[in-house]
Amino acid sequence: MSDLKIVVCMKVVPKPEEVGVDKETMRLDRENARSEMNPTDMNALEMALDFKDRYGGSIDVVSMGPPFFSHFLPVGLAMGANHIYLLSDRDFGGADTLATTYTLALGIRKIGDVDLIFCGEESSDGATGQVPPGIAEWLDINQITMVNRLDYDTEREMVRGQREIPGGHQIVDTPLPVVISVATASNEPRFMDYRLKSWAFEDERITVWNVDDLKADPGYVGEPGSPTIVSGLEQAPSRERRMEFIDGTPDEIALRLAGILEDRM
């Protein structure tokens, strides 16, 4: 079977260290934050590309977000994906994971006959890890989360995923179609192929779908489709630390520290 149809869900996120909370409005200040591809989604794409290299097939990237995502998503093409779909509509704004997974699932369904869906373990802004199992539920297909290695048994048409669990790992088999969430740092994403780069970043390489294209139920997308609301926002309190510097030779420092430690043991 060499026609595996693979989708990778990728998201553009603000660089976490550049996001703060505006102390006056108590709103998120991401104006000054530069954006990047969600780091783990690069691991997801790499796992998908490797899977395709080994077992054949094609890869589409799907993303839900505002139009500016289209400046970043072509990285996927330059790394080897075949097509990019951006689900973008004003009405998709304000989505929590319920609405996001509904929308992504509609996009994946519209692509049709998808065998594998790769997601990152979590996004660095949402950081829920809920999107992959949520997509699997809407599509009523299998899921393996926190995967750091994936193989395919072509005879049984089953994937075998190795999951990271606390203190060890677990190996599970499941038939296609399946959603895979890829554990952070489980591989080394490849570089862009420079022969593809200028092609990838040409205009109109990306298919954009809106609410109507997806025939989405307006009550299920964006804010109406989101049970959760953010009722408060604050800068994380940093615990007051003494910041006392201790000087001396290593032995002097060691004695001083030993004293401090004895009091606390």
């Binding site: 996001v19 606390p166 203190g167």
Partner: protein, 342 residues
Amino acid sequence: MTERVESLYGIDEESKAIWVFLGQIGGNLEPVSLELLTHGRQLADQAGWTLVGLLLGHEVGHLTEQAIAHGADEVWLADHPLLEEYTIDTYGRVVFDAIMEGKPSAFIAGATPNGRDLLGRLAVRLRAGLTADCTDLKLVTETGILISEVTGFGGGVLALIEAPTHRPQMATVRPGVFPLSEADASRKGRIIDFQVLLSEDMLKTEVVETVVGAGVDLTQAEMLVIGGRGIEGDFEMLRELADALGGDIGATRPPVDDGFIKRERQIGQTGVVCRPKVAIVCGVSGAFHFAVGIQDAETVIAINTDPEAPMFEFADYCIVGDAAQIVPALTHALTLEKVPSV
């Protein structure tokens, strides 16, 4: 066409109860499940609600006592051979059925890989609101609204999240954020046998093997010695210091990625959040992703060659110096002091 998505049951049908999903590994309840019972007990007492534990497994009946000793009023027990190992197929089905029968106002679980796997899927099935990896949970007594605190953007921002109109109010909670109560064996509770109908053909996922090591749990360590890239993989040196302190060792992400130490020992946003009495942090620059992992440490000692290292802003005692010299000297000093003087 719908105006607004609705959960399968609403506030008018809810029972005034907090349900805790009791995860178990190798015949024991996960520490985070007990932490959630401890905290859930406080919330339930404050609001006059019931605290219920939901336990799935095979021949796990004895664990109900532990759950009651940590605060549960009731334990719903689903015992079945096909529940021996977690799979989304079986657990998803049984937990969904139990929730639809008990209709709790709130349903919480540990933010473990399985807890997130399970609730992420069930929240969609229930059309409910779910917050992930919470660092605090409050219950507003008058309204019955559960408020979850989550950290975002690498830990720099705290957000409060609620789902006021949808039930159950779901959350996964980060292991280690709530302290654990002492077990009280005299507590009494009810055990409810939850009958399940499961058959092999419902199982699409097959667990081929589960390998869990000795079970490192850094969330419970009181003395922690943590190494970053600056110690160049010499965790042996840190281990000696940790042994002298009766503690354990942890790491930042780079040494984990480089294979010097296992991922289960990674501290930080994508690793463990610990709350030791003392954290001795060696050769760590102090990235925000890391610092959230030790923000609840009582005392932080940092050793770094770079006087400008951001790590010092997160430390009580700051030592500008080479960890390769200071750490052995400290181990030596501690070992010496244990030898009775003549």
